[in-house]
Symmetry: C2
Subunit: 348 residues, 2 copies
């Protein structure tokens, strides 16, 4: 039963109704162990009877915990970040936290505005996929504010300054190169992005390491360009028409790789047979592409979960040691990188 009174119900009203003090009601609302069972029950019933709504704003003013976090991604329309966000949301819901969300569109200005707003709202932590070109000073400033910040997927600077959760793309790419070399490939091109950020550098480092390991330094070739599906198609067409066409492609992400598959089919070539293609992310679409796309699985949902869990931990222990969680990014081999695609078994 809910009160129909127009004036708002406060702790004071509940206190009067239950015959206790405001302080006691407050303790009940905070689920404190201090208050006796019978009293707790009486207060809860009074709250329900009056249709009480907890006022988090008022609580925040005094206690400075908000049970909210801020999440910044580059583009929530990108399925990768959708999945990441789903993982974050999942963990936060379990912990009774609520996320503010902003898409930065990789714009420093929008990112800065959102961060300022988060500070005004006094979020308990930030989960940040830093926009390109974010200076280290921004991350330091956030730390100065006393606000825990978890960098996700990308980090600024050569190595993460504070907490970080990402995928081991370096090892992933190394495995991809080794796999391709085993299949007899030597001309392996990396289709990278234009921007120079940590996630990009990691792929590159893995690529160079593995090519060197295989004695293929001389054949290393990195193609830089935009990272959309269309761009993937165009870039692949250009590469294959070149004088020294590659026989295998490692693409920055699955969208680019799917574009590459389109290019191959356009040229009447068969992916896997005529030119191997490996993507990154292992989005849902990869397994269902024709032919099925090999991909380095980054498990965005798991990364989101881990990042949110780390945030919860950091809120509890602000001064604890910083953590760097790097999740495995296993290579999922499918038809697009197998010479004998007749053997259609999937390896993980």
């Amino acid at each position: 039963m809910v009160s129909t009174s127009r004036t708002r119900v406060t702790l004071k009203d509940i206190a009067a109704h239950a015959g206790v003090s405001r302080s006691t009601v407050s303790l009940v609302m905070q689920e404190s162990e201090l208050v006796a069972g019978a009293t707790r029950k009486r207060v809860q019933e009074a709250a329900a009877a009056l249709g009480y709504v907890y006022n988090r704003g008022a609580a925040t003013l005094r206690s400075s915990r908000t049970a909210t976090v801020g999440v910044v991604v580059h583009d929530i329309a990108n399925p990768f970040f959708g999945a990441l966000m789903a993982g974050i949301d999942e963990t936060l819901q379990a912990a009774d936290y609520i996320p503010f969300l902003a898409s930065s569109g990789d714009s420093l200005d929008r990112q800065a505005r959102f961060l300022a707003r988060m500070r005004e709202h006094r979020v308990d932590a930030l989960l940040l996929c830093p926009a390109e070109e974010t200076p280290a000073s921004s991350i330091e400033a956030i730390a100065d504010w006393g606000m825990p910040c978890i960098e996700v997927m990308r980090h600024v600077g050569q190595s993460p300054l504070g907490d970080y959760v990402g995928a081991d793309l370096r090892t992933g790419v190394i495995n991809a190169v080794r796999h391709l070399v085993t299949q007899g490939h030597r001309r392996i091109t990396l289709l990278a992005g234009i921007a120079d950020h940590s996630a990009d550098r990691e792929r590159l480092a893995g690529y160079r390491y593995a090519m060197h390991e295989a004695g293929l330094d001389g054949l290393s070739s990195v193609d830089r360009g935009p990272l959309t599906r269309c761009a993937g198609r165009e870039r692949t067409l250009a590469l294959l028409r070149g004088a020294t066409a590659p026989t295998a492609l490692i693409c920055h992400n699955d969208l680019v790789a799917l574009g590459a598959l389109l290019a191959l089919s356009h040229l009447g070539l068969r992916a896997g047979q005529d030119c191997a293609v490996v993507g990154v992310d292992d989005i849902e679409e990869a397994a269902l592409a024709e032919p099925a796309l090999s991909s380095i699985a980054t498990h965005p949902r798991a990364i989101g979960r881990n990042a949110a869990e780390l945030a919860m931990k950091r809120i509890g222990h602000p001064e604890g040691e910083r953590q760097r969680i790097v999740l495995e990014a296993p290579l999922v081999i499918r038809a697009s990188s197998r010479i004998s695609s007749a053997v259609a078994q999937e390896s993980t």
Copy 2:
């Protein structure tokens, strides 16, 4: 220059520094026209000098405006909702509002918990894609709380109770049927979802209307099942192996339609030539599928923008007349539904 003092800067500190009263500083923070230009400038400089951070929690306590809204979607990992959210975010950023986000996973319980939290946080408005089976009473309850609520894409009950923004799927499906009939199809099957919600009913209504119009009532056939890509593939295989196989499919969304394309290619059939396929949503992938997929374009980003704009308007005029914004959902015809796919021009 930023103060290094450990204690937080408040309006009182700024007032002292600028030689005015708290009230005046408050007015400056609210960008009020009342305060004289020179004073405003002095206050702003003082605020900057002291490194002031506006405390929205405190402001909310008194004024009950929060500059936040709550957004509920079913599954943020679904690219459709990602795009929707991107549209919402875009509009909100322009208006200096910030969204809380939750994925309900179509669970009434999770939805209810999130809504309760939003009430505690006193968001200024809600953008809600109601979970399946949401009772009308929930929407009414939100209205009772005095919280503006915009239903997005789906609405509870036979027609929207309050503000609503969606796509005109009924007309979209009618156009699809007419298009298919023009191409000579008669056995046109609708691949629908299992749940009975407004967006589903609209598709069905359009389908029945158009089939009747074409004198094909007797051939109407609605297949109900899950809405994933895999399910789309399996359902299509089952249909085509049936005694009276359809020659055209209208799929609940593009994921199902892409599954249908996989099924056709698996059977060695050519989409467009042997069996026409039309999807709904026109996601990015549709245009790049092989063959390119015809689709009813729902423009999620535009819907998101409109919904957020309506929310902003409703916050300003809570008692204004309720609006129902239904955006056009034009049929985009591509190769997957054209008999003569040689003529590869795209119509919008």
